[in-house]
């Protein structure tokens, strides 16, 4: 007699309210390959866990952003937000696709130069730009957006030292009806501080103001916020021209557009709640229509969109290391990727799917990472099919911030791989090993044998 396929015995309670007018319970469809490359092949070659980036996704998203904005405001330039993901290979894809570099520290500035970006195509933002870094940026004719009055004074001293004509932009902050206050950076536009900064720059006589920069916030799903922002910036640009005969070269609206991830506080999935890039473009161009200058004098619009371009291009491939039943009866699935490499798990309900066909009744589960920390929770709760030790999983939309803010904690950070537009794959960052850590350390003489 042939035996029947075995599944671990499971009894799953039926939940009320799982169907509603917005649709059914999301199904868990396996993802066996990424851009045509088998997940199993990638894990076999590079080990588990593993970050994987899709070059095709980056190309497609960048094209979508450019098309959406240039259709409505032709003088648009995208600058790749280094802090979102500054792996060299990732940056080089963006630069090849026409993006400039937007950096927020001297380290990032040096990395952009290292990646072959001309200084004149680097936008230097951030609250800390030491004198040496400013001098480098000024000599390279980079775009520099000043954050505060003390930095303005330092910039004047540097300009005087190098004895060159130096143009700068100022970062401003402002309120919109759709975003929380984000007032830490720049000069406030609403209370007159930004106008004082302009007067101070003119009084100093050492710097020329040629641009405005404003970054509204993060994970913004409301296009109307950008409409208010760009309208306020446009009206400020009008004031600069009318009051001080200053014609701006650029208006930089920063980044902050949400990706299609889902925040823990959201009921509906991000794929349904995040508007398409075209709606943000529509909002911005509508706001900029407040500009009163002649079309030839329209400033360049800089975008520093990061998350919305790279989040969906990144995946973590991971392996199940244990199944557990917690004392309160909850099911726990332990995987080999922890919050030290996926800190966005604290914000997002990352979509997690098996990398091989599964069978059996889905049951509510907690997905735990492998760290010896109680907070190492990748998903606090999701309906998930039965999986066994050794099964492979794919965590989606992890491309933003994780490979810049990851922590080396009790284990090695994993390798990072890119799949090319033609389906090749290659390492873009090696997995760490013991020497990666110990080579940075010193043991004083009195502790040596």
């Amino acid at each position: 007699m042939s035996r029947k396929p075995y599944e671990k015995p499971m009894l799953v309670k039926h939940q009320l309210g799982m169907l509603n007018k917005f649709g059914s319970v999301p199904s868990v469809e396996p993802m066996v390959s990424i851009d045509g490359v088998a997940v199993a092949e990638l894990l076999e070659k590079y080990g588990s866990p593993l970050f994987v980036f899709s070059e095709q996704s980056i190309v497609d998203k960048t094209e979508e952003l450019n098309e959406a904005f240039k259709l409505r405001y032709p003088k648009t330039t995208v600058a790749w937000s280094y802090k979102t993901n500054y792996l060299d290979a990732i940056c080089k894809v963006f630069h090849r696709e026409g993006s400039w570099a937007e950096v927020v520290s001297e380290f990032e500035y040096d990395k952009a130069i290292h990646n072959g970006v001309p200084g004149s195509r680097i936008i230097f933002n951030g609250p800390l730009k030491p004198a040496d870094a400013l001098e480098k940026a000024f000599r390279n004719k980079s775009i520099v957006n000043l954050d505060n009055f003390d930095e303005l004074q330092t910039a004047e001293e540097v300009a005087e030292k190098i004895n060159e004509d130096v143009s700068i932009g100022i970062r401003v902050n402002l309120g919109t009806s759709a975003t929380p206050p984000w007032g830490r950076f720049g000069f406030n536009l609403d209370n007159g501080q930004a106008r004082d900064a302009v007067r101070r720059i003119l009084a100093g006589g050492k710097l020329s103001l040629n641009g405005l920069h404003c970054h509204l916030g993060t994970f913004i799903q409301q296009p109307e916020a950008y409409q208010e922002q760009s309208a306020k910036l446009a009206l400020f640009a009008n004031w600069l021209r009318e009051e001080h005969s200053i014609t701006l070269d650029y208006i930089d609206i920063g980044g902050g557009i949400a990706s299609c991830n889902t925040l823990h506080t959201q009921y509906l999935p991000g794929s349904q709640t995040t508007p398409p890039l075209s709606r943000f473009a529509e909002a911005v161009s509508s706001g900029l229509s407040e500009l009163s200058c002649q079309p030839d004098d329209y400033p360049t619009l800089f975008l520093e969109t990061g998350r919305a371009l790279i989040d969906d291009a990144g995946y973590i491939l991971t392996s199940v290391v244990a199944n557990k039943r917690l004392p309160d009866g909850q099911r726990s699935v332990v995987i080999d990727a922890g919050v030290n490499i996926l800190f966005t798990a604290f914000w997002y309900k990352h979509e997690i799917v098996p990398a091989q066909p599964v069978s059996g009744t889905p049951e509510q589960a907690i997905i735990h990472g492998p760290l010896c920390m109680n907070i190492d929770v990748i998903r606090p709760s999701l309906l998930f099919p039965p999986v066994e030790v050794g099964d492979k999983l794919v965590i989606k939309s992890v491309g933003a911030y994780n490979v810049t803010q990851w922590m080396q904690f009790i284990t090695y950070r994993p390798a990072v791989v890119m799949i090319s537009t033609s389906g090749e794959h290659a390492l873009i960052r090696r997995a760490e090993e013991l020497s990666t850590i110990t080579d940075m350390e010193e043991v004083p003489g009195w502790l040596q044998d």
Partner: protein
């Protein structure tokens, strides 16, 4: 197993639909779970249930003993079984 009234009263059909007449709650049981419930209702000990599963299902290399114990604990936690796992 005669004292396990709750389990005896569970209605389980062939497609795995489970109805608890005490609470009105319903559940889905997979085929292995149905087998374990039937065996428990019949008073089988854990060792016999495990052997029966190994005979009827392709469970080679799987920790069936652990799975069955976990399932029985799960029944208890959901109030569907009043007994500890019976051991021979």
């Amino acid at each position: 197993m005669t004292g396990n009234v709750r389990l005896q009263e569970l209605a389980v059909n062939e497609s795995g639909f489970v109805f608890d007449p005490h609470t009105g709650l319903t559940y889905t049981a997979n085929e292995t779970a149905r087998y374990v419930i039937e065996q428990m209702k019949a008073g089988s000990a854990v060792e016999n249930i495990v052997e029966g599963i190994k005979a009827e299902f392709e469970a080679d290399g799987r920790d069936v003993y652990r799975h069955v114990l976990e399932f029985i604990h799960n029944l208890q936690e959901q109030g569907l079984s009043s007994l500890e796992a019976p051991v021979e």
